[in-house]
């Protein structure tokens, strides 16, 4: 499958944080969930893709082109939503439409107004009077009205009520239906990612811990559970992360089916994206000893 986005060993160093050799690929026509805790490096990675920050090293390729050499051409085909509305609160939706019409060659006012209608957004009211949900919907409408081949969304659903989240997620699913559009979607709301994503990339402390197809991830990973005394017989090389409580232990493992025969007396449940995220992140520290 053709990749619409590729990152190879992208590094960016700040005083107190480092994006460390970030590499992953996003196939065309798919949605990738970019997951990680607050401060893991999700926004920094998206900024690096957009050349909003200058990377120290690494290569970013969008639509097969270098993201710096062909920056303007690439950006004609990108739609961006950041975690808050970036439009002045003194503007209204109609004015934003007029501004973007002069920015994007293919900006379609009709499509923009269709989204405004769909999202029930007034075109003459100042953004100042909009709720957070309305602002995010407006940003999404602005990003999807110039037939962008790739949407880059930075936590577009955080802080939204379930209904608004549902509406926006459905709109994203609709957007990629034709197989020509792709979405890179950062979030720490794992429920949203499980609902719409084809791929999951997990970043932790500036490093990519995994980047895989969501269905394979959910199929392969499992939660091994047992009593406290049983933990001593578990092969520690199988454990990617674990937690202990009064009743026993829970450990994240890979190759769920093969492990069933290895630990027949223990329970192995499916692991959710949240389990994988939490245990992989914790595992780094907990399992060292």
């Amino acid at each position: 499958m053709e990749n619409i986005l590729e990152l190879k060993n992208v590094c960016k160093t700040y005083k107190d944080f480092r994006l460390d050799n970030v590499s992953f690929e996003l196939p065309k026509g798919t949605i990738m969930g970019f997951v990680g805790e607050n401060g893991a490096g999700k926004t920094t990675t998206l900024k690096a893709i957009l050349n909003v920050i200058h990377c120290n090293s690494g290569v970013v390729t969008v639509f097969g082109c270098d993201h710096i050499k062909e920056e303007q051409r690439i950006k004609e085909d990108l739609g961006v939503v950041f975690d808050e509305s970036n439009f002045s609160e003194a503007l209204n939706a109609r004015e934003i439409g007029q501004i973007l019409q002069h920015v994007y060659k293919r900006f379609d006012k009709k499509v923009f107004y269709t989204y405004l209608k769909k999202f029930d957004l007034p075109d003459n009211k100042k953004i100042k009077s909009f709720s957070r949900g309305m602002k995010m919907k407006l940003s999404a409408a602005a990003a999807m009205s110039h037939d962008a081949k790739l949407l880059i969304l930075d936590e577009p659903t955080s802080g939204l009520d379930p209904i608004a989240r549902h509406e926006i997620l459905d709109m994203f699913l609709e957007y990629i239906e034709d197989g020509e559009h792709s979405i890179l979607f950062s979030s720490h709301i794992t429920g949203d990612l499980e609902k719409i994503c084809d791929y999951i990339t997990f970043i932790h402390k500036g490093k990519i811990l995994l980047s895989e197809e969501k269905d394979l991830l959910l199929e392969h990973y499992g939660m091994l559970k047992g009593g406290k005394e049983e933990f001593s017989v578990v092969d520690k090389s199988d454990v990617l992360g674990y937690s202990m409580n009064h009743f026993g232990f829970s450990a994240l493992i890979k190759d769920r089916e093969t492990k069933k025969s290895k630990y027949p007396s223990m329970v192995i449940d499916k692991a959710s994206i949240e389990d994988i995220m939490v245990f992989l992140a914790e595992g780094e520290e907990v399992c060292v000893d």
Partner: protein
């Protein structure tokens, strides 16, 4: 770039709506006082400050990170702000010209076309001079930090005058050549301002290109 200039006009729309009655008030007061230069200065300063106001709106809404993600380019984003300044300056000169024509038509006592021309020239030049110094500072340090520097820039001419007044008369430079070579002085000032404008634009663009958002 047209989109960005449009955005700035929409953003300052509210300030503009407040500004217009104020300008009108100053025009009337100036007329009543028999001195148009005060209104001219006021219009210029207000118009000159609008790009900075728009930049503070940009900072508040985190516009720049979005703007840099658009297919425009960082240099053009800066260029659009400078063009916005120039458009406002032209608007200010137009406003003052219309006002002066009205005053001239009414026949205000003590109104001099020559004096008005000189005031407009001085205010436009002064406004452009201050803006071209201020804009790179705003691009480098942000609107908040630049506010204090702005006071410094505004105070500088006053300080020079105060210091000049303290000097003995023999140290005072002879400015009579300005009057005798008026045409040449105006030409040189315009040339210097144009050069300063280009230098300021290049500096701002260079700061903006290096910036991480």
């Amino acid at each position: 770039m047209r989109g960005l200039i449009l955005k700035d006009f929409y953003s300052i729309g509210k300030s503009g709506r407040v500004l217009l009655p104020m300008i009108l008030f100053f025009f009337i007061m100036s007329f009543a006082a028999g001195n148009t230069s005060f209104a001219t200065g006021f219009v210029m300063v207000m118009m000159m400050l609008l790009p900075i106001t728009s930049m503070s709106y940009d900072a508040a809404s985190k516009w720049d990170i979005y703007a840099v993600s658009l297919p425009i380019g960082r240099t053009k984003i800066v260029l659009a702000k400078y063009l916005f300044l120039l458009i406002l300056m032209v608007l200010a000169v137009l406003l003052i010209t219309v006002y002066s024509l009205i005053v001239w038509a009414i026949g205000m006592k003590g109104f001099s076309v020559e004096d008005t021309k000189l005031t407009v020239l001085l205010c436009t030049g002064g406004g452009l001079f201050v803006s071209t110094i201020l804009l790179p500072l705003v691009y480098k340090f942000g609107v908040e930090k630049s506010r204090y520097m702005m006071f410094g820039i505004f105070m500088l001419p006053y300080l020079l005058v105060i210091i000049g007044k303290q000097l003995p008369l023999s140290f005072h430079p002879d400015f009579s050549w300005i009057v005798t070579h008026q045409g040449l002085v105006v030409f040189l000032v315009i040339l210097a301002l144009a050069a300063l404008f280009m230098l300021s634009l290049a500096l701002s663009a260079s700061f903006y290109r290096k910036k991480d958002f």
